[in-house]
Amino acid sequence: MKQHKTRIKLANVILLALIEIKKARLKDIQLKLEDIGYRSSEAVKDSHRFAISLGKDWQSAAQQVLDKVSRDMNDFSYHLSRFKEFVSRDTVSIPALPDIVSELHQMELEFEQFRFDLAGKTISVITKPIVLENITFGAFEIQLHLNEFNKLYQNRPYRVIALNPNPAATDEDVTHPHVSHEILCEGDGHTAISKALEQGRICDFFTMVIGVLENYNSASPYVSIDDWERRGCYDCGRTMSSEDSYYCDSCDNDFCDHCSTYCQKCDTTVCLGCSYECPACGQPVCSRCTAKCKDCEEVFCKDCLTDGLCQSCEEQRKEEDEYGEEQESEPLPSVQSDSLG
């Protein structure tokens, strides 16, 4: 009894959401009509300009108006055909409350994991784990937001949430070849899915969304299954298999073989951005194997520094030391009086 009462409450929430869809559709028609009206008024203005140009024998101006009309007509016919398609769609008939209650009863029978949140106005179905071409994507929660039904013609009022995500290696927001940022790209199912929602056929809606999730269209995925486990090089973006990727310890990113090298001193893999070319020996080294020269403060590999000095600074110091020693060993010249040489 309590279950039936809850079902009726939920059916009422759905009914109100469907009324919102109908209102949204009418509002959308109004906007499209205003757009058609605006485009028509532009045609009237062009007709006026064309008549003036002809009257004054401004042939070049008349041609310019004609060119504009030709361009506008292409746009106009496109918008007109879209509008015609939109208004000629089946009239949205809102189902009666008992039909919606039956729909919910059907949901309970068909989907093992069906739940709803009356306060949050959401209905959810959890799919079985999805496996496509031997890649497991885990189960998804299809979460229908009844309070977003009024945006049906602009956005999808539902989210497809990966419960045990196995995202594409190149993009963690792509959790399924046809799901990005929890939004499903419905492809061939777009019109039928929208219509099912418009007409309150919630069960058909969930069946079709699951139908998209359980299939793979290799012609148009966000990330193809072949590339699912391939990583993108952090530097150039080229995808690569895990065997071909190189991890840079310094910046914690993966790189392809073109964008990475290894430290000639400690053999650590390092990306080109984090490696240094020693100005003395010319070899690439990682930051751990470098040090600054105490005198000139230039960075060198540790092997090219002796007692903290690079070769040239060391030589310079030696020269200075030798010169100093020479100075100390030579007797000072005798002081001569002024003007005598």
Binding site: C185, A192, K195
Partner: protein
């Protein structure tokens, strides 16, 4: 005999139809979805799955829903 037919394939379709008496679900599917494979669709009558030899009755509600739909990035 009149039935309510809801086809969720392609652009979708929902309307009342006149059909011959003693039409089975299998025959109806073949007429309406010629060339399609029944295993790629969920066929329900009055919200329930039915055997293919089920004979359609006056005012039945027949729903044909594809279960294999190709998603795509470029949908409107």
């Amino acid at each position: 005999m009149r039935i309510l037919y809801i086809n969720n394939d392609g652009a979708g379709f929902a309307d009342y139809l006149e059909i011959a008496e003693n039409t089975t679900v299998e025959q109806f599917f073949k007429i309406k979805m010629s060339g399609a494979n029944a295993s790629d669709y969920m066929i329900r009558v009055n919200r329930q799955p039915v055997p293919k030899d089920y004979i359609l009755q006056e005012n039945d509600r027949v729903t044909i829903t594809p279960t294999k739909i190709e998603g795509a990035v470029l949908s409107s």
